[in-house]
């Protein structure tokens, strides 16, 4: 019986006919060729894609606090520098293919960073005006960025390799440990002081709106299970408030790179 070969409605049915694919899918092909055992188009593209990732966030974010508190009848200037350039990221998302290669998705990510804040202060002398003593030290600081990403997705599905390009608005909330005061020790004659610790408070920002864009590449072991990698750049600016501090504008987001499980169904 003669076997007919034809294009399915949804894509290429047989890998050995890949040369018949429409020109619009050339990009997928190119990506697939880059991998040994190149992916082939699936017989039926899934409607739902789920991803779970772990990874890191890299950014140029630094939190710099500069404020004063009153000590010994003078201002005690305090600065705190917190390096937020690196964080651990957990991310999950779902994409619904709506029509053709277009879909919508939602992803949520949590980035945490435990680091030390470098704190300096000029402690006014108890007996004299304008004779401050310098102190410096570190204090633990934790930052937790929680973000929701509403995604417009363009899907480039292959037989094994699925690629998604996405972007859209992001909603950020930041919970950040901020320095609110410095504790120091001093003994007579008080010409020097020693940093003991810093008083801190956790500040949670109001929801800040930003944006994101990224790409997700998945290698499917089977029709519904695979692994993948994701890179997303997201950015927003949030405002933090803490005791003794003026309103502090901080950058959120950065380049998130991670990998994890992919589900498709």
């Amino acid at each position: 019986m003669r076997r007919e070969m034809r294009n399915s409605e949804c894509g290429i049915q047989n890998s050995w006919h890949t040369f018949l694919i429409p020109n619009s899918e050339f990009f997928v092909l190119t990506l697939a060729l880059a991998v040994p055992g190149v992916a082939r188009a699936q017989t039926t593209d899934p409607r739902f894609y789920v991803s779970v990732n772990a990874g890191v966030q890299r950014s140029g974010n630094n939190v710099t606090q500069s404020f004063s508190v009153q000590k010994n009848l003078e201002d005690m200037p305090i600065t705190a520098d917190i390096d937020e350039k690196r964080g651990v990221m957990f991310d999950g998302g779902v994409v619904v293919r709506l029509a053709g290669r277009f879909g919508m998705g939602f992803a949520a990510s949590v980035v945490t960073n435990d680091t030390d804040a470098n704190v300096t202060a000029s402690v006014p002398h108890p007996f004299f005006f304008a004779k401050p003593r310098s102190v410096a030290g570190t204090t633990p600081s934790t930052r937790r960025e929680t973000a929701g990403h509403i995604q417009a997705v363009y899907l480039l599905p292959g037989r094994r390799l699925n690629v998604m390009i996405f972007g859209g608005p992001s909603l950020f909330s930041i919970r950040q440990t901020l320095v609110t005061d410095v504790v120091y020790s001093e003994t007579y004659p008080y010409d020097t002081a020693t940093f003991s610790s810093a008083q801190t408070a956790s500040s949670t920002s109001k929801t800040a709106i930003g944006f994101h864009a990224g790409v997700d590449v998945a290698w499917m072991f089977s029709r519904s299970l695979g692994v993948g990698g994701m890179a997303r750049f997201a950015r927003a600016q949030a405002t933090l408030n803490a005791t003794n501090n003026p309103a502090l504008k901080v950058d959120a987001g950065g380049l998130l790179v991670g990998g994890g499980i992919r589900l498709a169904f």
């Binding site: 009848l73 007996f127 005006f129 007579y188 004659p189």
Partner: protein
């Protein structure tokens, strides 16, 4: 401008000898000055001191580790005869890891008298009350001492200190007969919760104050420095001040200078309280000394002992002591004079007199009397008295240079004493003593009996030597030049004089002994042949003390 006739502060002090000294004589008083730094002398005197200790002729009053030179120990011994202290007889021995380095002192030979008093303590108190008009409180117990006479001989006496409108006075009362043998004006005068306060000083500068909070009120009680430093406001109640000084009443918390907020309005307690702290800090930072007694004794000061506006109705005694003076009384107590109201000047010099609390050097001077009381115990008359006053001027000026920029204006460091209070010019000039009538050379010393034998007057011979040792220059009388260590090295001279005067000098020292101890101190600290030793030596020679 109204002119108030008053005596110059330094001249208000008077030595009053009210009875013959040295009668009855059981032996001739023969003071021996000890000044041993050479090996042969040291060996002899070391043995003598040890023998006298064994025989209970010398008793150790205090042994202190040297704060400047590790390993050095200073032993102060007082002379006793049959258990009674010989007034003015003492020895200061310095050792380095057990080896004696120097011995200075005054010892009295030939003491031979019956040390059993005929009078009781109560008898003596009654005599003191009769003589002074002051009833001593229960804590004021006269001390039985053997008093060497100026003209020779010894007398068993009771020594009692009382405070009157003329100042504090030492009475020496014959323990057998009740005769007042000697009366010495002893006052060394100038001529809750921790909180920080602020206020303007008398000259308008902003100052911080270490105060405390008690029941919602801020009081002038320093809780940040190791000792208790309290400033009381007598609010013009002179009777309360006198009763306190004589031990008949105590000052309570409500007597402390106070403010309802941390910002103080009255500049007088602001300056007094701040400057006393400064002086304590100077001694600690520069010399490692912990307060007047080196053991953080409390310092209590009193401001507004009188009201300025009452000056026209005040007696000359009150004006002289409580308007035109500041004085260290005893046991860490200091009183600040009120100065003259605006528009009044001193008759003799046309100078105005501000609140005495305005003078950092004044307060340094007075508190240094406390340091002397707890170290060399220099006797407050004649040459020891002049050394006492000179050391106070030297340290008062050093405190000024420690905190203030050098210059010639108000609140600037210079070699004038009291220039921020008695204006213009101050009351003594260490750089050029003659400018204010003081002698700059031993040959010009005052030899009369006023001023306790010229203790303030002759002090400028010594303090001028200190000036020359730092700044260098030529003594106007001798024409001899001195190569000083330079202003940048003033710390060297401050340490040399501090060491000499607090650790090596005996109570009855002469200028010549002061020369020897300061040279020894310079050798101790900076080495034989050092610039410091050369400067000290040249300076003493230039002022005629050899």
């Amino acid at each position: 401008m109204r002119v108030l006739k008053v005596l110059f502060p330094a001249l208000i002090l008077a030595l009053v000898v009210t009875g013959p000294v040295g009668h009855p004589l059981r032996a001739q008083a023969r003071p021996r000055t000890v000044s041993a730094t050479a090996f042969a002398d040291l060996r002899t005197w070391d043995a003598t001191v040890d023998r006298m200790k064994r025989d209970d002729l010398l008793r150790v009053r205090r042994t202190t580790d040297d704060a400047q030179l590790p390993g050095r120990v200073h032993e102060r011994l007082e002379q006793f005869y049959q258990g009674v202290r010989v007034f003015g007889g003492d020895v200061a021995r310095q050792t380095d890891h057990g080896l004696t380095v120097s011995i200075f002192g005054t010892l009295y030979d030939g003491v031979d008298l019956d040390v059993r008093p005929a009078l009781s303590i109560e008898d003596v108190k009654a005599i003191v009350e009769r003589e002074s008009g002051v009833a001593l409180g229960p804590d004021r117990t006269p001390e039985l001492v053997i008093l060497p006479g100026d003209a020779g001989g010894y007398r068993l006496t009771y020594r009692a200190t009382v405070f009157t409108l003329q100042g504090d006075s030492e009475y020496f009362i014959d323990a057998k007969t009740g005769v007042v043998v000697l009366k010495v004006a002893g006052a060394r005068r100038q001529g809750g919760t921790a909180a920080i306060g602020r206020g303007k000083g008398i000259l308008g500068d902003d100052k911080k104050l270490s105060i405390s909070s008690q029941s919602g009120t801020f009081v002038a009680s320093d809780m940040l420095r190791p000792p208790s430093l309290k400033t009381y406001d007598a609010r013009g109640d002179i009777n309360k001040v006198l009763n306190f000084l004589n031990g008949r009443t105590t000052l309570v918390t409500s007597d402390l200078a106070s403010s309802t907020s941390t910002t103080w309005g009255d500049p007088v307690p602001v300056d007094a309280h701040a400057y006393i702290g400064f002086v304590y800090d100077y001694y600690f930072k520069r010399h490692g000394r912990r307060g007047l007694d080196n053991n953080n004794i409390s310092i209590l000061s009193i401001v507004h002992p009188v009201r300025r506006n009452d000056i026209l109705t005040a007696s000359n005694d009150i004006v002289g002591l409580f308007y035109l003076n500041a004085f260290y009384c005893c046991d860490g107590v200091m009183v600040f004079g009120e100065g003259l109201p605006p528009g009044f000047v001193l008759t003799s010099t046309r100078q105005t007199v501000n609140f005495f609390a305005a003078g950092l050097d004044v307060i340094g001077h007075e508190l240094t009397h406390g340091v002397t009381d707890f170290s060399s115990r220099l006797i407050s008359r004649n040459e020891p008295g002049a050394l006492n006053e000179a050391f106070s001027d030297i340290m008062g000026t050093s405190v000024e240079f420690f905190y203030q920029p050098a210059g010639s204006g108000l609140m600037q460091a210079d070699y004038l004493i009291g220039e921020d209070v008695v204006t213009p010019g101050g009351i003594r000039n260490m750089a050029n003593p003659g400018a204010l009538g003081g002698p700059d050379h031993y040959s010009r010393r005052f030899t009369g009996t006023d001023d306790d034998g010229g203790v303030h007057i002759n002090s400028t011979i010594v303090s001028h030597a200190f000036y020359l040792a730092i700044e260098g220059g030529t003594n106007r009388t001798s024409g001899l030049s001195v190569q000083g260590v330079g202003a940048a090295n003033r710390e060297q001279m401050e340490k040399v004089y501090y060491r000499g005067f607090t650790q090596l000098l005996p109570a009855n020292a002469t200028f010549a002994v002061a020369r020897a101890v300061t040279i020894q101190a310079a050798r101790d600290l900076y080495g034989v042949g050092s610039a410091a030793e050369r400067a000290v030596t040249q300076a003493w020679t230039a002022v005629g003390v050899n």
